[in-house]
Subunit: 227 residues, 2 copies
Amino acid sequence: MSTTSRLVEVRQNVMKHNDVLARALRRRFEAENIYVVSIVSSPGSGKTAFLERTLTMLRDRYCVAALVGDLATENDSTRLARSQVPVKQITTGTICHLDAQMVESALAGWQPSKLDYLFVENVGNLVCPSSYDLGENLRLVLMSVTEGEDKPLKYPTIFNTADVAIITKMDLTAAAEFDLELACANIQAVRPGMPILHVSAKRGDGFEEWLDFVQARRERFCAATVE
Amino acid sequence: MSTTSRLVEVRQNVMKHNDVLARALRRRFEAENIYVVSIVSSPGSGKTAFLERTLTMLRDRYCVAALVGDLATENDSTRLARSQVPVKQITTGTICHLDAQMVESALAGWQPSKLDYLFVENVGNLVCPSSYDLGENLRLVLMSVTEGEDKPLKYPTIFNTADVAIITKMDLTAAAEFDLELACANIQAVRPGMPILHVSAKRGDGFEEWLDFVQARRERFCAATVE
């Protein structure tokens, strides 16, 4: 067997192991009525700014917390601490994605009680996180207007494994000469029917729509777990 | 042995295999006097725009060509074809980086003769490409002003395995409220002494300095290979 096919085989076993752990996490979140939202994007697409505003807007009405993944530094958890909700950093070293084991370990001995929402910010990477189920209920893929309209076509897997696309940094639309219609058409070409929202975390545009969306999804989740 | 440690072991063998191939490529490029420049960055940092302007400015004085890696689509090679130099696409499928084998296969039966420069644009990913030597002489890491000043601290490995940092989209500096001094300090904190250039591929700012830089490096390379 060649080195490459051995790598494929071992990687498949790792995936299988991850899926088992992720399923257990999902059952646990359902039992505890916690709605879990994960966020993936390129480095610098604005995940942390998006999350900071989301946490700040939700915290008065709900119990919310966040896990935040990064190769190095605790910059993001320091930024998110400003939202005054419990935040825990997962430092991955050289690993290019979060996996279910990292989420489980981070929750051990930390998980704030009676959470309504748990947000999980992945490492900035538009490729590798697509393969790892984290037990989340909703996966968001963010892309900023400065990255170009073609990203869904060039990174189709991450759009195919996410549930919602969120276009960020809408305040830079004119400066970046971004064509929103073309970007939406590209997302729909890869993933027909995918919900698309657009926001500016700097100005707050689009956040009411986003919060309405996620709250409706959580209500549906809670109704299903009660049944 | 656990699944994870087996994965680490098999991955080390893949790396070793890549290093052997990359060394052979480097010897071949030296023998043929081809200066090879690779480019890594996040998706949407402007690799293709940077490369298109570079190829267009070099083509009258030198024989230049480019290999361009992507998960899916031939968008980048179509864009680069406008520079009227030979361009070949490497489509990686779900693989998050180029490796030496892909470069070797792409060159087989294609390599334009008597090249002075070969540019290799990697898949957009600020993590995984750092581990794969492609036999290049110079590796550029690009980051755009819209990604935030902290990227070198958060993705140190890619800055440590590159030779030059290029800050792109300088035309968006004011709109993105980008602090150039802070970004340069963060690069130097991770990699003291790293050369830093800043450009706008849209307006052309900084390209004379970049071309002076790469031509000086190539002259040094040619002088060394003649000795």
